[in-house]
Symmetry: C2
Subunit: 124 residues, 2 copies
């Protein structure tokens, strides 16, 4: 299975913007992030660079300007991060985590119904 590069917290924010829509130029990414963060444009460019170096992003060039797009899907990354997380927290076992979460977390009647439905489907 393909290994995805490790994406840090700050980088993750940038990836989310590009997963949401791509390709986008650096300036478009910067623009899109004005609300979520107060990072300086230079900071965001640094993150774009690092993500490109670690091959999480690539870009096409139009004149002087790069348009970035993801090389890895959100799903892949989420899955990969989840694996590490699971490993750290629960020694890699999935079910104990679920059990713990279900005990701890608030869920609406609606949510519970939906989850039960999912479990139904899985069991068939």
């Amino acid at each position: 299975m393909k290994t995805v590069p490790h994406i840090t917290d700050a980088e993750w924010e940038v990836m989310k913007v590009l997963w949401n829509q791509s390709p986008r130029t650096a300036n478009e990414v910067i623009e899109a992030m004005q609300d979520q963060t107060d990072w300086k444009p230079k900071t965001i460019r640094t993150l774009l660079n690092r993500l490109t170096q670690k091959q999480a992003l690539s870009f096409t060039q139009e004149n002087r300007v790069y348009a970035y797009f993801p090389l890895v899907s959100e799903g892949e990354c989420v899955k990969s991060e989840t694996q590490s997380f699971l490993k750290r927290m629960y020694g890699g076992a999935f079910k104990p985590m679920l059990v713990n979460f279900l005990k701890e977390e608030q869920l609406s009647e609606e949510d519970i119904k939906e989850l039960k439905q999912l479990l139904e489907n899985k069991s068939k």
Copy 2:
């Protein structure tokens, strides 16, 4: 709510040993970790120190020797790490993560039954 210090990957391994049983001397911790890791004793002592500084551990002193014990529970730490994780992956929303997990992961018929049972209990 009490804030737990941030515990890094390497430190987490040490905490697990002490959550499992405590108090333990540095040497006992080192001993216990021989299987899981190939860290040098000095490395483990460094981690014990850092954890003590960030008040995740404390110790009692018997003669020349320290016996370490956790100041934060595994549950607290798991919960806290889970919050950050959730925030990063799913913008903090719990249910989407569950949905995703349930879709992705393998679960035995047994597991599914158990989880459904948990959901049942929650809904009442």
